[in-house]
């Protein structure tokens, strides 16, 4: 395993609009490598699960209209995501839908969150941005809350508004 890079970036999560999540992170690598790691199943398998488990399956059909599906095994069972690629500009931008598979999930993918991933290189370093448009505030909140105890919904909504106010 490679050692930690020097000049490691920091992930920043912000909530630019009621239905959106924005994640940014800088990497000490050129964008074609970040893009390759992001879109190659064997490489996604190595990082996607973070500290939460292991990847059981990573399928990526990288073309417009192609599908993707990730399955992660965690201490609490399996969780899976899938979606469709809507736009692909190699080494620059990927637009895809993203559906969190749950037992009671809707059969249709209509209304699924749409994620735009961009790769911007400067001085050999790459900034990765993920903008998730969830369509509704409720879905956005559910996505952020996934993996943690869900508090009283009304309270969370208000607290979140407050947090946004304080961040701006």
């Amino acid at each position: 395993m490679a050692s930690t890079t020097s000049g490691k970036g920091t992930a920043v999560v912000s909530l630019p609009a009621d239905d959106q999540i924005l994640i940014t992170r800088e990497f000490n690598a050129p964008k074609h490598l970040v893009y390759r790691a992001w879109t190659t199943p064997e490489l996604v398998t190595q990082f996607w699960s973070g500290q939460r488990g292991t990847m059981r399956s990573v399928e990526i059909d990288l073309r417009v209209g192609g599908r993707w599906r990730y399955v992660m095994t965690t201490g609490h069972g399996e969780i899976a995501f899938h979606g469709e690629f809507l736009e692909i500009v190699p080494n620059e931008r990927i637009v895809n839908t993203e559906v969190f598979e749950t037992p009671d999930a809707p059969v249709s993918d209509a209304g699924a969150p749409v994620t735009t991933t961009t790769f911007t290189e400067r001085d050999g370093r790459t900034t990765l941005t993920l903008l998730m448009r969830c369509g509704t505030k409720e879905l956005r909140d559910t996505i952020i809350q996934s993996g943690m105890e869900i508090g009283m919904q009304e309270q969370m909504n208000l607290l979140e508004e407050l947090a946004i106010s304080l961040m701006s």
Partner: protein
């Protein structure tokens, strides 16, 4: 429906506590409406009130901020762990290219 107004109230209270009359002026709403929003905000614990002589002063509840901070922080941590491992993958890819 009422949420934008509630957000305005929270915004107005960021600088410090205010009497309801202040909030009425800032929001441009009738006092009964402002009071209604304040009641909701108090019920969920993000706003506190205290009596100061003849007026009631409203302020943000700092403790209530912690859950939302934890909420975003935890989500951020999940992504940080993922990205840290991506760093390692990228180091290997860079080594291969050399």
């Amino acid at each position: 429906m009422a949420e934008p107004r509630r957000r305005q109230i929270l915004d107005a209270l960021i600088d410090g506590e205010r009497p309801v009359n202040d909030l009425v002026r800032v929001l441009g709403l009738a006092q009964p409406q402002v009071s209604k929003h304040l009641r909701v905000l108090r019920e969920v614990g993000v706003v506190e009130v205290r009596d100061d002589g003849r007026q009631r002063l409203y302020r943000l509840n700092g403790h209530a901020l912690k859950p939302i901070h934890d909420w975003v922080t935890r989500y951020e941590r999940t992504w940080s762990e993922r990205f840290d491992r991506l760093d390692a993958v990228l180091e290997e890819l860079k080594d291969e290219e050399m």
